[in-house]
Symmetry: C2
Subunit: 198 residues, 2 copies
């Protein structure tokens, strides 16, 4: 299975992390985003949106980190990381959406500004980051994981850009439950890290 | 089944639309967003994020429009609107993420600015809207639906804020495939509309 990848992308990292937990080997293909490789015709054939990650397995070409998590969990996780029963699945998927929306617009955007110079309203992104961090901290009050009694793709989807928030000038100091949860994820067997995650 | 709802929300509408297609009756509970009802403690018990829609069915309390589509499709759709097989599911879920991310940041944000006065960089939102509309128009070239050979929650998730784009100053005139697709959705049996959709 091939993953078109960028080492410093939290979205690529979340795929590498779940693959590691599942014991699924990935052939990583580094995409040269600095030189615009993701906007060239060959790459746009894989993903019209011109974004990494893209997963290729046989005939399947799959874009979007959240969708790749859903696929790997359903295909290789046997219900552990994403239950198939509708009501259990329904507890996980809102957090996958939160990763695609509130976390992307918050800590991920603030980091894009600070670390990669994207023209983003960083104060607004930091305010959104703190808003969603407060909510996640509240959700994790008295809970080990975002949903269910075990780690799921809810945790995997949200983890990277929450853990990387300090790279966007967003301190985690006032979110003790978030910090404890980060530690629990890092302590899981087969955990792999990426640059910027302590 | 209760839906905490706002008539003018495209996110609430996508839930009402799928429920109509599935023949699932909803008890609509209007949330008074103009008066901040969604930020009051009673509502925050249903959704920490203080957003509509929220679906309540028995003990299940489910936030996030995309997650509600996944739930309704899995629970009541028998695979029609969201296949359960991993590779087929994998073709649908990227568009559900696109609805939560690129469409939310594009046409939905532009409409929030123009119609409801949100303090949003509307030129940036319109530029993002045209970028994702070009991609959707390209995806729909020679295809009736975003994925598979039938309508799925990929179409339902993307439809409302694409069809409402003109309310944010984003013309659909140059996207013929998008316009034809909107017409096909409107022609489906049991289609229901909302204000602002032709």
């Amino acid at each position: 299975m091939k993953l078109y990848d960028l080492e410093l992308s939290g979205n690529c990292y979340k795929v590498r992390l779940l693959a590691a937990f599942l014991g699924v080997p990935l052939e990583l293909i580094a995409v040269d985003l600095m030189n615009g490789e993701q906007k060239r015709p060959e790459f746009l054939k894989l993903n019209l949106l011109g974004q990494v990650p893209v997963l290729v397995e046989g005939d399947l070409v799959l874009r979007d980190s959240q969708a790749i998590l859903v696929y790997l969990a359903r295909r290789y996780g046997g219900g552990d990381w994403l239950p198939s029963e509708a009501a259990d699945m329904a507890r996980i998927t809102p957090w996958v959406s939160t990763a695609a929306n509130e976390i992307a617009r918050g800590p991920a955007d603030a980091r894009l500004h600070d670390k990669f110079g994207y023209p983003i309203d960083v104060e607004q992104a930091r305010a959104k980051a703190h808003h969603i961090l407060e909510i996640i901290d509240q959700q994790l009050s008295g809970r080990a994981w975002l949903e269910l009694s075990r780690p799921t793709i809810a945790d995997i989807a949200c983890f990277p850009y929450v853990a990387l928030a300090p790279e966007g000038g967003v301190s985690l100091a006032t979110y003790p439950n978030v910090k404890a949860w980060i530690g629990r994820i890092q302590a899981l067997p087969r955990f792999v890290t990426m640059p910027g995650i302590g």
